[in-house]
Amino acid sequence: MSTNQNLLQALNHLDKNLFFEEVESLIRNEPHEDIVNAYFNPGLEHTKERYEQNYIGLPEFLLSVQWLQELLNKLDLKNRTQNNKQIKIVLGVIEGDPHDMGKNIVKKLYECYGYQVIDLGKDVSQDKFVQSSQEHEADIVGISTMMSTTMEVLEKTIQRIRESRPECRIVTGGAFINAAIASNIGADKYIENAINLIPETEELLTN
């Protein structure tokens, strides 16, 4: 089997030893820039497809993405233009909400796809969102919430970011929101799940 097939097999079976043996071998023998396109990106797509098609659940998805991220971190990419999109995304869970699993998945995926993520964490105040979007000159602010109790503050936060940094796109995700509600409270986009995250973000950036 080729290295790439071995890598995919390791992901399919969550075989940690095989995965990292292959990774070490790649790092020693292949130009690191090539590893991104030839191994990392296909591995990520493969994992997303298997999650989308229900071959794997959230635990397997989380672990696979974690390993792939470890692979990426091991590479010495002096010229990171291949995967580096130069797009800055400020991410956080809105004030009053401590649930950050969804936000963490989004962060990992954005990082894997070369976006620069500024992670504000959970229970993030309106002021912090506004300040960070200005300070980092964010292209996108992503705000997550899993609770209905945060709706009012979410809407206010979106308004304030809009006023202070009008060129920035604002995306929301989580529970108690859908595309229509996101639009009503002033967001540019509602992204429902990890599967749609990258294509919908790319679409948002081109519009």
């Binding site: 794997i56 974690q66 209905s148 109790t149």
Partner: protein, 362 residues
């Protein structure tokens, strides 16, 4: 459904007849209005979580205003984990939740260090039992009271965080199972105590049992066999077993296999049903289906929209299956109760000539 009943049925009669698949005067309703009820009696979220009398009175007042048929005795998802020692945060404007900066299970070795609280004496679970007891006393012979227990995997998620728990389930399954055994032991005593109060049913929440979380076989391995013990205890105690799972595409098949619930409360079609007709055929004959007005909608939509959506669901699920109209999950805890009342009004007005004007308004 029959419009020829001379007198309205009592809620208990209505629910039991509907559960037996017999004719009723109207579809029973359970609003799942819990946290939101505190506003009606001027109680804070923290008082609602910790003071049995204030919580029971809030639920009672709200229920009388809403006029629903099933009392869902629930506080919040933090009750069980708090008594295992998980530190909780009691926010002013939201429901209690774990202090995620100080989780009880910080490392894999902590799974085996869990203690086994006695639910009849530990602060939050005993407070819940006291609240449920009050509700049973208030409603005896009038309205069924359904009590609640968070499933073992859910309780563990509150003490480890779901994200870390999911990774541990793959990497340290044996350690996770030790904790699940410990938790199940306590929850078994907890459901026994609930049954002793005289509740009609105990509802086991299996939140991770859906496509939004883990694979069905993983759910069976890490929760199915544990909730079976709870379901067996509930049945042996003479109560009905109910199930609630509000994830996307819940695993009814696996839930049935391990729990054999008589009632399933749901927010989305199960993963093996492509439409409502299939849901009715496969599950709506053996089980009473309880759902599934979206909580997003209850939060954002007008009462008129809730009426229309409810009529639509009564049209489809109210015929040819055993059905209770309800939200898919807890009624939004910081929303007023108008839309909860709209659920009941939808049932009251459905096929009633004197209320047909409602249906002609939109």
């Amino acid at each position: 459904m029959n419009t020829s009943f001379e007198n309205e049925l009592k809620p208990l009669e209505r629910v039991l007849l509907a559960h037996q698949g017999k004719e009723v005067d109207r579809v029973p309703v359970c609003s799942l209005a819990v946290g939101c009820t505190r506003v009606l009696s001027g109680v804070s979220f923290e008082e609602f979580s910790r003071d049995a009398e204030k919580a029971a009175n809030s639920i009672y007042v709200a229920n009388r205003l809403i006029n629903e048929d099933v009392i869902f005795s629930f506080i919040d998802l933090s009750v069980e984990a708090a008594d295992f020692g998980q530190k909780m945060v009691y926010p002013l404007n939201s429901t209690a939740h774990p202090n995620y900066e100080d989780l009880l299970i910080k490392e894999v070795n902590d799974y085996k260090r869990l203690s086994t609280p006695n639910p009849r004496q530990s602060p939050r679970m005993s407070n819940y039992l006291e609240m449920t007891n009050k509700l049973v006393q208030y409603y005896r012979d009038f309205c069924p009271v359904v009590s609640f227990v968070y499933g073992p995997l859910g309780v563990l998620g509150m003490m480890r965080s779901y994200e870390k728990l999911y990774l541990d389930m793959l990497q340290y399954p044996d350690e996770v199972k030790v904790a699940l055994e410990t938790i199940t032991h306590t929850l078994n005593e907890y459901v026994k105590a609930q049954c002793e109060l005289g509740v009609t049913s105990v509802c086991i929440d299996t939140l991770p049992g859906s496509r939004s979380s883990i694979k069905p076989e993983t759910w069976e391995e890490f929760e199915g066999k544990y909730v079976k013990q709870l379901a067996d205890t509930i049945r042996e105690s003479g109560c009905m077993v109910s199930n609630h799972g509000c994830g996307d595409s819940p695993y009814f098949r696996e839930v049935k296999k391990w729990m054999e619930p008589e009632l399933i409360s749901f927010a989305d079609l199960p993963d093996d049903c492509s439409d409502v007709n299939e849901l009715k055929q496969i599950y709506g004959q053996d089980c009473t289906l309880m759902g599934y007005i979206s909580t997003d909608m209850l939060f954002h939509a007008s009462a008129a929209e809730i009426l229309q959506e409810s009529w639509k669901q009564i049209d489809t699920l109210g015929k040819g299956s055993k059905f209770i109209l309800a939200p898919g999950c807890e009624y939004p805890p910081n929303k007023d109760i108008v839309n909860a009342r709209a659920l009941v009004l939808a049932s009251e007005s459905y096929n009633r000539a004197n209320l047909n004007i409602l249906r002609s308004l939109w």
